[in-house]
Symmetry: C2
Subunit: 351 residues, 2 copies
């Protein structure tokens, strides 16, 4: 017998590579190619470091109030955490405490099954169809909770709000999490449905559209009762998580709505151009509503393309996962210049 | 049936009050009365906000390397998290996966039983003696793991390293966590024992002696194998937690060892004077090796004193807990001036 017998053993997630050298075109982690709002830099520069001797405001009020006003909800409808990963993991822990399995698609954000295993939550995956679309009948069944990424990752496919509402209506007695990490790039948010469905938790993040992957802010929206349960679990675990610098940065970013709309519009425009060029080069992909395109080539394997681009210092993401997705590449939408260089490189390989 | 039936219900921790008005003397949350090192302010002012668009370095290398050099260990012996609460909670989740109960004192840091309940870890508390000392025989038994805060909170009592080593030696086949949140204020750290005992995890924090309660940095030291298990669980949960601003702040604080020693020495000197004055006023307390004194009065109840001080805008901590501790106050060591004002107020009440 050894202490190792009692260790909870898990398979850690392998994040996309973060190369330290400059000169790399990083299209592998869905980061925003633009810097955060200039108001963020200002908030940091003006921050009074002496405040750090005290514990943070556990309610992160400055941030939550700014969020309430930006999203048109009340503060009591908001839960904030350290990136949406923290929010989602806490939501799994809080709401999925049943014997019936939690259900989610077989191709989706790769953390869902890991959290379920970590917390010993039974789960079951439901196969997407050949075009990576979710079959709604799969979600109208007995279950312990539902998790849907919308748009889905890494496919980029959007599910209509009508279908989401049907799933919500069927599952009134369990919590349905809609993970909207990428929603700002052109999909419709389920946020307005929280008034109608007390079992709906909508999760979003500052990592993509707010250009703040580094700061680690995620949030959940829901009715007060749902949010209060999340807070109870969070406060039993670690009362102080978001530090005051993080809170100041997040609030500053929210105050600059014009900048947010501007960089988001730029990313959407670049994505649409990128789709056109990729199509001409023989790629196919579902219609992405995100800041990435999940593409496969008619002739070359994903592995070949990945390796070629890598040599050119262009990093994209290749998931070595079951089913057909191992022949796909997830390519983040960069700046126009970065995408030009991607397309030039691909032309060299393909033609 | 409702979704609420499946909610994991917990009792959230109530943190010490954070009054928003100034003019309050805050001796209720064991914050450092001095600001963090001037190098911290400099690091924040000079931080390049554009870096925040990218995900953080998951390994927090800048911070971990600075820590390795400050504490004389290797980087592979260090795990960092969002305050020691995060580190401790992850350690509970990772290492206490047994049917036998985890054991810790009945009077100790109030999060231990909450984490155990949250993660469905069986636990058992062992009564301290009348002088708040731990009885070592209680820890030489079959168990699923041991947690010892040293010095203990909220009592301030130090346990000798010899006893800790005996407990470590007896429990070779389970993990022993030594939580050293307050160790820098004059107690002996178990850190040197990690070379000898692969079942020892030593946890510390930046919240007290580093004057950075706000920034949320905690760390664990242990042999590589132990640390790797913690990392696996952390990376399965949320790969990116410490943001780069936090990492820069933590590394800057570690670079200013002279400042750290200076403010720590000041706090220790103030504490010793405070003990003398409190004793003269009829208080008794165990010999504190922390930045607080856990005191009871020969005549007045803790409640009376608490209420009186509160009216004078002096906040101290009163735990309404079982056993004798509800007649104790935990009073943080402030600046000399703050403690002068505390003593003046107490004289007014007591004489």
């Amino acid at each position: 017998m050894s202490w190792e017998d009692n260790v909870r053993k898990v398979v850690p997630y392998t994040p996309g590579e973060q190369p330290k050298s400059s000169g790399v075109i990083k299209l592998n982690t869905n980061e925003n190619p633009y810097p955060p709002s200039p108001l963020v830099a200002k908030a940091i520069k003006e921050y009074d470091a002496s405040l750090l001797r005290k514990y943070p405001d556990t309610g992160a009020s400055e941030l939550v109030e700014e969020m309430a006003s930006a999203y048109g909800v009340k503060s009591e409808n908001i839960f904030v955490g350290i990136g949406s990963d923290d929010v989602l993991a806490l939501a799994f822990l809080t709401f999925f405490n049943s014997e019936s399995p939690v259900i989610f698609p077989d191709i989706t954000y790769s953390f869902y099954d890991v959290w379920a295993e970590l917390y010993r939550i039974p789960y079951e995956t439901k196969a997407l169809d050949e075009e990576f679309r979710l079959k709604k009948e799969d979600y109208l069944c007995d279950n312990g909770g539902v998790v849907i990424a919308n748009p889905n990752a890494p496919t980029g496919v959007e599910l209509s709000l009508d279908v989401i509402e049907e799933i919500l209506a069927y599952n009134r007695d369990r919590v349905v999490i809609v993970d909207e990490a990428y929603v700002d790039f052109g999909a419709r948010s389920a946020l307005p449905l929280i008034d109608k469905y007390d079992n709906l938790l909508v999760v979003q993040t500052f990592s993509k559209s707010r250009a703040l992957a580094g700061i680690r802010i995620g949030m959940a929206f829901g009715q007060k009762k749902l949010i209060d349960y999340l807070k109870d679990v969070k406060f039993s675990f670690n009362s102080y998580t978001l530090n005051p610098l993080t809170i100041a940065v997040g609030a500053a970013a929210l105050r600059d709505d014009a900048y947010f709309k501007d960089i988001t519009a730029k990313t959407v425009a670049t994505r649409e151009r990128m789709k056109k060029e990729l199509k001409e080069l023989g790629f196919s992909f579902a219609d992405s509503r995100t800041n990435f395109v999940f593409a496969t080539h008619e002739r070359l394997t994903a592995e070949e393309i990945f390796t070629f681009l890598r040599e050119k210092n262009i990093f994209v993401r290749h998931f070595k996962k079951p089913r057909s997705i191992d022949n796909y590449l997830r390519i983040s939408v960069g700046t126009d210049e970065e995408i030009d260089r991607l397309i030039t490189a691909l032309k060299e390989l393909i033609r």
